[in-house]
């Protein structure tokens, strides 16, 4: 081959590669297979459908098309890290691992590589301290907020006093499940309720011992930190022992439709938190159906639209898109880098008016992010399952956590992380 031909090939390759380089790359570390697929699939569907809708309807963001790179993790930490390593070179702007285990592994890697992580309502709670975790964001809420919101809800239900009440925490025996324990212990000391901790081993298919103990000890309330099959079995076991379902509250990873449907009528009245409001009639869903589903570009089979985790995935994609737009505005370029994306995330401000403009009025709380605060407001709603209607109904408006309890814990834990890793806290 002559030098002329080689040069022509190189020019052709460069021209062909150019549009790819200019795209806004969003990896989607999904899990559509394995034991946790029922939760991973709707989230991923919502996440991808929203980006695809922006491409089809608006021509991307700021004139730049979005490219979603899906990588299957199977909710397996090693595979999640492999997905990160295999996609980061594509110009990934932000990672949403949807797994606390994967998040913990990616925090040092993403920090070293200068790529932001968005761990929405999961992951390392103290990452809310943006001065230590410059590249990690967990807005709009974290686990400790969830624990505090649950207790605030119970306080409101009990005339502002939980003195002498018995509360059991049924949790997945993992880093994820253990996250709320310290917060609940502090809240227990503050409000005078007795806290019983009941660990359930992975995957949570067998929980007879834990629920027999609950039956013996008769706590006033049961709180749950579950994921995957643990949720369905816990709801079934609670119904089996006749525990009053209105006194059983799961966190926002224990409150999807598939968590309650296997228990049938027995699940009626079960409550859970949600970090985002669900409303199947949001105008944005019409746009998704028109521009994505009817065009044959849906990420899934279209049956998840409007469900709890689909809505959350879509909400996560909206937050990423808004941060991209903010980054483009700050830096005056459409083709942003991961570092610019980080700046956009740190300057993100989500207002009620903006959510309405986006066709998802009230889907999440209003919040703003700053260098110091990567965690948002921590608000959550309480929703209740209506088994007859087969739907979740919001029982409350957004409830605020007790920052006086959660913030000191965030500062303490992040300071320990900074000391362990030789990080000098400060804004970038």
């Amino acid at each position: 081959m002559t030098m002329k031909k080689l040069a022509a090939l190189a020019v052709t390759a460069t021209i062909a590669a150019a549009p790819v380089m200019a795209e806004l790359v969003i990896p989607d570390l999904s899990y559509r297979t394995g034991p946790y697929a029922a939760g991973g699939t709707p989230f991923s569907d919502g996440y991808q459908d929203y980006f695809n809708m922006l491409n089809a309807r608006d021509g991307g963001i700021g004139g730049e098309m979005l490219r979603v790179l899906e990588c299957e993790t199977g909710y397996n930490t090693e595979k999640g890290v492999e997905c990160y390593e295999s996609t980061k070179g594509e110009g990934a702007l932000v990672y949403q691992p949807l797994s606390t285990g994967i998040t913990y592994q990616l925090i040092p890697k993403a920090t070293a590589d200068g790529i932001p992580l968005h761990t929405m309502g999961y992951g390392r709670t103290s990452a809310a301290n943006g001065e230590v975790f410059n590249w990690v964001f967990n807005y709009p809420a974290n686990y400790w907020d969830a624990a505090s919101v649950m207790v605030n809800y119970l306080l409101a239900e009990n005339g502002d006093s939980l003195e002498g009440k018995k509360i059991a925490l049924v949790y997945h025996n993992s880093a994820y499940g253990k996250e709320p324990i310290r917060t609940l212990e502090n809240l227990s000391a503050q409000h005078g309720f007795e806290l019983t901790q009941l660990a359930v081993d992975h995957p949570g298919q067998e929980q007879k011992s834990q629920w027999l103990q609950i039956r013996r000890e008769r706590p006033d309330y049961v709180l749950m930190w579950g994921w995957g099959v643990m949720n369905q079995v816990a709801v079934q076991e609670a119904a089996n022992i006749g525990f009053p379902m209105e006194n059983f509250i799961g966190n926002w990873w224990s409150g999807a439709e598939h968590d309650v449907t296997p228990a049938g009528a027995g699940a009626n009245g079960y409550k859970s938190l949600n970090m985002n409001r669900i409303d199947a009639n949001l105008p944005v869903f019409d746009d998704i159906k028109t521009h994505v589903h009817e065009a044959g570009n849906a990420a899934g089979d279209g049956t998840n639209v409007g469900k709890v985790l689909y809505t959350r995935g879509m909400y996560a994609a909206m937050l990423a898109s808004e941060a991209i737009a903010k980054a483009q505005e700050i830096h005056g370029v459409a083709d942003i880098t991961p570092a610019m994306m980080r700046d956009g995330m740190e300057a993100l401000e989500l207002t009620a008016a903006r959510m309405e403009e986006l066709g998802m009025a009230g889907v999440g709380p209003e919040f703003s992010v700053s260098c110091q605060d990567h965690g948002g407001t921590g608000l959550g709603i309480v929703q209740q399952w209506d088994a007859d209607a087969g739907q979740w109904n919001a029982l409350t408006d957004y409830i605020a956590p007790d920052d006086a309890v959660t913030l000191p814990l965030v500062m303490e834990d992040s300071a320990a992380f900074a000391a362990e890793n030789g990080i000098e806290a400060g804004c970038m």
Binding site: A37, Q197, Q205, K208, S209, R216, H258, G296, D301, T303
Partner: protein, 331 residues
């Protein structure tokens, strides 16, 4: 009687019931290992696949719908009918028989005479393949098994026993689903024993289990027997899948129930059907009593690892398990 003692009895009863559920899974392992010397890693996935197929057939779901829609641009998901439970079970049994034939025809026929570790590796491959096929065929969403199995504690037993202790004793809790599982397990084991003792094919199966070469020499078709054994294991997997699936819905974590069967096999022995039952009962009672008495002192969640500790202790003193055949090889 003291309340603590009564609750201990309740834990013991529930441990026995849980043990039956473990035994249901372990039985499938035993059947295949006894007849062919293969440790079938895919048994848990077979339970998942069978339950997925049953739920899919009952709901009138189109198998491979996602694939068909992607290739042909169609939008089909359901046939528009619901299949009655009994017919759906029969159809699922048919699918498991076809699966048994396919496994024999396309995998193990080509591996005759290979080392046990090779056969074991083949079952690992089979497990992942079957999981993938199940996903492609029926999707990964959670399915509800509407078989009308009873759920929840028996109110009658609770009321009858509530007066045995003080005010703090609320009567014995016994899950109706566990009681059904116990009856099913008894019928299943009795049927398997009757089949192997009193039928021509059952006796042939035992002959193959005792000595392949001798069985061949008297005209028994190894190929047929192995298809028969895999079919029986498929049926047992379906029963286990139904019972476990009724608790949690049919979902991919069902394949992990195999982890609960391993200590049962280690304890009861890999070659004994009664061993699978007794092993399950010992593991069920042992882990529940340990969780009840020691669990609260050390943070709970002891059941998974304690079951293996129990099995390990038995292995140390009796490597073939309580009921397994002692293997003596002369050099």
């Amino acid at each position: 009687m003291s309340t603590d003692f009564l609750y201990l009895v309740e834990v013991l009863i529930n441990g026995l019931m849980a043990g039956v559920m473990y035994s249901l899974v372990a039985l499938g392992f035993v059947l295949i290992f006894k007849a062919s010397g293969i440790f079938n890693y895919a048994q848990g996935v077979m339970a998942l696949f069978a339950a997925l197929t049953l739920a899919g057939v009952m709901e009138g779901q189109v198998p491979f719908a996602h694939l068909i829609n992607a290739v042909f641009g169609t939008e089909i998901h359901h046939f528009g009918w619901h299949v009655p439970a009994l017919l759906a079970i029969l159809l699922t049994v048919g699918v498991m028989v076809i699966f048994a034939w396919a496994v024999q025809r396309f995998v193990f026929r080509h591996l005759v005479g290979q080392e046990p570790i090779i056969l074991f590796m083949a079952t690992i491959g089979l497990a992942y393949f079957l999981e993938g096929v199940g996903d492609l065929m029926w999707g990964s969403d959670i399915k509800t098994l509407a078989l009308g199995l009873p759920q929840g504690g028996s109110r009658w037993i609770e009321d009858m026993t509530a007066g045995m202790g003080g005010d703090d004793f609320y009567g014995f809790f016994i899950d109706k689903l566990d009681m059904v599982a116990t009856v099913v397990a008894i019928i299943l084991v009795a049927s398997l024993i009757a089949f192997s003792q009193y039928t021509k094919h059952g006796r042939a199966m035992r002959a193959v289990a005792d000595d392949h070469q001798a069985a061949l020499s008297v005209g028994i078709s190894l190929n047929f027997i192995w298809i028969l054994v895999w079919s029986l294991a498929g049926f047992v997997a379906l029963v286990a899948g139904i019972m476990w699936g009724a608790k949690s819905g049919v979902q991919f974590s069902l394949s992990l129930i195999a982890l609960k069967a391993l200590p049962v096999l280690m304890l009861g022995g890999f070659t004994s059907i009664p061993g699978a039952i007794v092993g399950g009962l010992i593991i069920g009672v042992g882990e529940k009593l340990f969780e009840f008495s020691v669990g609260p002192l050390i943070g709970g969640a002891t059941e998974n690892w304690f079951a293996y500790v129990l099995a390990l202790v038995v292995l140390v003193f009796r490597p073939q398990g309580l009921f397994g055949e002692k293997i003596i090889e002369r050099v």
